[in-house]
Amino acid sequence: MAAAIRQPGWYRGAIGLVLGAAFGFCLVVGLRLLSGLDAFQTEQTGYPQVIVPLITAPFGFLFGFGAFDYWFRWAAGKPTIPEDHSGHGATKWQDYFKFNTDHKVIGTQYVVTTLFFFLIGGLLALLMRAELAQPGTQIVAANTFNGLFSTHAVVMIFLFIIPVFAGLANYVLPLMIGAPDMAFPRLNALSFWLLPIAGIIFLGSFLAPGGSFDAGWTGYAPLSTGAPLGQTFFNIGVQFAGASSIATALNFLVTIITMRAPGMNLWRMPLLVWANLSTSLLVVGATPFVAGAQFMVFFDRILGMNFFNFLEGGDVISYQHIFWFYSHPAVYIMMLPGFGIISEIISTHARKPVFGYRLMALALIGIVVLSYSVWAHHMFVAGMFSWLRVPIMITTMLIAVPTGIKVFSWLGTLFYGKIHTYSTAMLFALAFIITFTVGGISGVMLGMIPIDIHVSDTYFVVAHIHFVLFGGSVFTIFAGIYHWFPKMTGRMYDERLGRIHFWGTLVGTWMTFIPMHWIGMDGMPRRVADYASQYGDWNLLISVSAFVLGAVQLVFLYNMIVSWRFGPKAGPNPWRANSIEWQVSSPPPVFNFDEIPRVVGGPYEYGTPGARHAIMGGEGEGAEVPETKPSTVTVPS
């Protein structure tokens, strides 16, 4: 037992958690008593005895869990534990609950964790739809309702869409570029473990006096600066999720820039790699702004600073500028990795090179550049300086162009191909093109100021965001999970269940979100717990469809869980794809490659006889790709 406590792991993590919380608590209470104050402070924007432990406890847990062991030993000049590939690879399910430094294990951890939060976020949405099925108040009161849509958005954005892409890329990207792992495996593991912490803090806000944060995921000041304690949970949770996101992005950048296999120049990188390069550039540039915005709100609340207190010279609008300077690029953070996934899948299943590969890559970079210049289109009616509106409208409209290039290029990829639609991944990819186009069109409409003036803050915006985030991002996530499921688990999922999931999701998405456009244009504001009775019928339809959409996700979960355990063996390359991750076994060996592959051509050389993307290690010229042994590598610890 004593040994177990000294080892990094859950026991030590639990002790660290308690000690961390106790330290924070005693610090606050001690200092307050020393200053002659009451031990506890219970103003709703205060509660230092809760907030400080909320910050210290996660660090205590991370210390105990072993996140910093190696770095501390190294910094202290102590012998580090012999470079622990002990923390590499997974041979049993318990290994997924450790501080594991293997990018493949971390990728799986990410995907499973974020799908869990997807379920939570979905349940929150269904609670909302249950309330909105009829006019009037039936199930939840107004304050609970405000908390529901706020946490729904935060969980979906910060704990599902952004990190699930990081998870998929974590698994696939090092394999794709022929690297043995990510550049910073320990940082990678730390990035992952920050996520569940953020999730627990967000959801823990439901237990706070006054309920969960309820100022929307946007948390506009001064509503947020005066809100009950739950808002502080949001401020802090965003720091953990944001730090995770930034660290992962740095990791991707360094990995992509420095660890590509010999021969893989920029124009031989698969578009998924390009997409994650672009996304990471956005994350490192923009995410600090949301962290900053939430810190400012936090300081306003706790320390009585007056960033957004207009009575003391604060500027209310500046919150929105800082917030959207992150949160608009964030929608591309949530979309660009999906673009990469779709390019891989369409090219593979249409058996054709991606049409206009270079323009596709440049379009990604174009989106990165432009997306820093469009944030204020969220503020056309916010009362900001009116001269800024037209320039922002123009950049906003222009960003539709690179996005359009991508859509047309995917269509071009299909032409003269051999389109296989047996795979659920491909079905989602094809449906994505249509659904995302609808979201793109409503996006252009929202960019046009006179139209935006009428429909901003209505259900039209809700419809738009769900068409691009659900019909867009989530479709690409499903496509990606189905596509790489055989690689990650070594087993095949059930295509029949996949098809049920696909059609249910497609119909559910359209039935749920299309009518939202209509009621929004007709005058139903968003973020309301009740509405005029004239919208009753449409809302009932939306709610019923939302429940169908929710139910059909259970088919997906069942398919994934059962296939992971019992599915037929998939073999290394079930889709006959060219990129490097398919040339190793499924699942890949612990260190990915016995010998680093040599890249000799573009990633999508379908249809050119004899063309190769990469030559795997130990492979003679023109020989068959040898089977790589499954993960049985053991490393002395």
Partner: protein, 271 residues
Amino acid sequence: MTRLPILKMVLAVIVFGTVQSVILLQFNWFGDEASTAAKPIDTLLDVTIIISSFIFAIVCVALGYALIKWRAKPGDESDGLPIHGNTRLEIIWTIIPVIIVLGLAGYSWAVLDDIEKTDSNALHINAYAQQFAWTFGYPEDGNKWSEGELHVPVDRQVIFDLQAQDVIHSFWVPEWRIKKDAVPGLETEVIVTPDKEGTYSLICAELCGLGHTTMRATVVVESEAKYKAWLNKQTTQVPEDILKTTNQYEADQLKKEEQSGGIEGSGVIEQ
């Protein structure tokens, strides 16, 4: 690609796009029109719907055509043609969208300028927003005040000076098509010329807390004579303590300081 399939696809796009536009234009999406801004905005929407219908048609037809024409037979393990791109096509589908979006942006700009033109004889009304109610002051008529009910004359431009007392609210009358946030510490205004008599709802469109859902007011648009009559019946005045915008607040502070012995009394310059 030979001529014929292209022709077929173009035809399909025209039919699909036209049918979709015609269907979509049958609906009055934004609801009743009751201000001079509504017409140009709704026309802009119609134009956008037509352009969008054709773009959507292009994507659907291209996808559908590809799926019908190039779907692999089961068991077919061959690859498609190794086409890597077509520079001319790529330039076309970059340039044409640029022209379309810039055109729409220019059109939007023109509409925006049009609906925000101010009249010299516009009527100024103050709209005060606080959790969770709207109140109105009529500075041109003895600073009269009404709670939860706004009256305006028809066919005369009204400029609402919005003042938020606590958090951000948003002033929205859907039939007028205009919306603007009321921001604490900031002066914002809404310019609108109601052109249809009737009773409408003023909706708070920006999440402002627990009562956000119910933060509404009645808007009555009536003839100038009726408006005057209604105003004459109002007896209360805008209360003194209603919070002002930052500028006025600071001006007040300054005045107070002056009255209480000037800035010297503040202790900053005194030493």
